[in-house]
Every structure is written in structure tokens, then in C-alpha cells.
Symmetry: C3
Subunit: 139 residues, 3 copies
């Protein structure tokens, strides 16, 4: 068994979900692991990682609709608003989704289901550079 690790950088152009499945597949191939697990960890508290339906973009627009409706931007009851209306909502959205994901590796590939894709979910409305630590462990 071995551990392989790298850090990937993604530039988020705006609030929204961005498909990073291909970049993660490439990292798994580089790791040389055949059977094991691939762990992703985003080093931020206003951007997160999700696995969801990768076929129809309307799924991700509806996820964004639910978030906007249930995690208010600029709720007047928030104390923490130094960086604007998307500051505190970004932290709560991150909490409700995932800071890390773990996907099985089988026969040298990410063993995702047919409809699953991996997305970086940027919760801030501006542009940000986001780092994801990828760790692959296995045989």
C-alpha cells in the first residue's frame, strides 16, 4: 500500500458549481493506485465540494436556488458581514455541503456512479483561487 498526495489549484470565476471530475481522474491515474480511496480536501471555508448529478445543469441551478432561499445572503441577524452579504452565507453553505470528499478507486479509476460528477462549489460572488489537496491511498 502507498500514499500519494498533490495539491490542485482552481480559479473560481463567480458563485456557482464547477465540474472538476476530469482533473481528479487525472490525479488518480498519476497516483498509480489500482484499488483504494481518493480523498479531496478544500482548504477554504467559503467554498466546498459536492457530488451530484452531472448530466443536466438545471440540477445545479436548483441546488443554488435552494441555497439562496434557505441560507440568506445578508441576513440582518448575522453578526459576521465584514466581507459583504455573501460572507456569512458562504460559511453556512460550506457547512451544509462538504469540505472533503472520499471516492473509491477501483481498477485504477474513480468508481463513481453513472450520473455522479465532482464539483467545486464557490459560495462567494467574486473571483477566488481555491486549493484542493488530493490524497490517494491504496495498492
Amino acid at each position: 500500500m502507498k500514499t500519494w498526495q498533490t495539491t490542485l489549484t482552481f480559479d473560481s470565476p463567480r458563485r456557482g458549481t464547477f465540474n472538476i471530475t476530469e482533473e481528479i481522474c487525472r490525479a488518480v491515474a498519476q497516483s498509480g493506485v489500482t484499488t483504494g480511496l481518493c480523498h479531496l480536501f478544500i482548504q477554504h471555508t467559503s467554498a466546498s465540494l459536492i457530488i451530484t448529478e452531472n448530466a443536466d445543469p438545471s440540477v445545479r441551478r436548483d441546488i443554488e436556488y435552494w441555497m439562496r432561499k434557505n441560507v440568506l445572503d445578508g441576513d440582518p441577524n448575522y453578526e459576521h458581514n465584514y466581507e459583504g452579504d455573501d460572507d456569512m452565507s458562504g460559511h453556512i453553505r460550506t457547512l451544509l455541503t462538504e469540505t472533503s470528499l472520499m471516492v473509491p478507486v477501483t481498477s485504477g479509476r474513480l468508481n463513481l456512479g453513472t450520473w455522479q460528477g465532482i464539483f467545486l462549489y464557490e459560495h462567494r460572488t467574486g473571483r477566488f483561487r481555491r486549493k484542493v489537496v488530493v490524497t490517494v491511498q491504496g495498492e
Copy 2:
């Protein structure tokens, strides 16, 4: 250290939570791992995995109540509704719970707390066949 992996299949009869703790315990015993981690990954975007109180079924009825109340079926604002009123709500419920779980293995057993059980949470109202990839890594 070694990696052991298998895929389990579960038939969900309807929307709701189904206790799969025993099947996972059996897989851990088969793996032969004494100290390590057991990872579960559901290969779907409308069914998820949760760890919650395993003693009183009313806990899981109340979780379902919260989900129904906060993640509307057939919200008229959803764009994605090809497969019915439970289509988009199923994706959002999956996002708010877990696509994967990781539980420690200690002395050859799942090291769950006294009140914890592992459940497959089916979010669609029909019948579905769901696959869970189990990976155990350790010594």
C-alpha cells in the same frame, strides 16, 4: 496494511431510511482488517447514507418530517422535474446528508457509538436498486 473492497446491493422499497449496519459489519469481518477505517460510498445522487440514533424509529420519522418541510417536493421554482416531484428534492436531500461515510474499525469491528446505526436513506418515492462500494483499509 491492506485494502479490501466490495460492492453491496440494496433494494429500496420506498422513500425512507433502511438500517444497513449488519451488512456493513459483515463486510468488515470479511475484510480481515483489525485496526483501520471502513468507507462506504453510494453510487447515486437521489439516495444517501446517514449515521443516526438506531434505537427509536421516531427519530428517523422526524428526520423525514424535517426534510419534507425544508426540501419541498415539486417546488414550482425547480427547473429539474423530469422524473416527478421527488426528482429535484432527492438531489438536494442527498446533498444535505452524505454520499459517503467513514467509520473506524477497532479490534476487527466497526467502532460505532452505542446509539449509532448506519442507514441507507432513499429519497425517491419509488423502488430503486442502490449500490454501495465498501472499502476497508488497515492492518
Copy 3:
């Protein structure tokens, strides 16, 4: 590669978030792992683990505000209320956050982002003793 495991105990004085980053850093140092993953698992269903902004405590007060607003204590529609108004809300809050966390270990240290901290989130209003199983795997 090796697996290292221990159980830490934390006394929660009340509902709220408690920074446990330092205790986890110490466990990682004890493990002797240089490159790998650190897994935390809380053995309870009314307390959870979160990674969020560790600089300004108002972030965690706003998270608690969102939880109180969206996961009602003592909702009259809950069936499960044996241990009081914070019983069922504690289970739902746990579900919406995390029972386990996984953080990369790089150069012998937890590879958290600059603003990330690890917190135990106690959801019950009384005092509780909480156990967290720490497993470190790597080289």
C-alpha cells in the same frame, strides 16, 4: 504505510462549538505519520464535528443562529422528544453537519487552510462527555 488510532474525550459544557484543533494536531504528531490522512469520528448522534473559520467567533455564533432558526427546538410536530426540546433538534443538526471529518497530513502536520479550524459542535443544552476516535493512516 501504517495505521495509528486513539480515542480522545471532550467534556462539552453547553450547546455550542469548541475548538479541538490543538488536540488533533497533537494526536497527528504522536502518530508519527508524515504523509497521509487523519480521520475523526464522533461516537454520538447529538454532537458533531465541523471545519469552519477559526479567526472570528462571530462566524460560529451566526452558524448557531442559522441552526436555531432552521432546526427548531421543540417543534410540536416532532414525535421524538423524550429528553427535551433539544433532543430531536440535536439529531437533525448532527445530520446536517458531520459525524466524521478527514483532513490531509502533509510534512507531519494537519494540512488545514489558513482560516480553517476543527470544532466539536455540541447540540444538546446540557453537559455531556463526548468521545472522538482518531485514526491516522499514511507513511
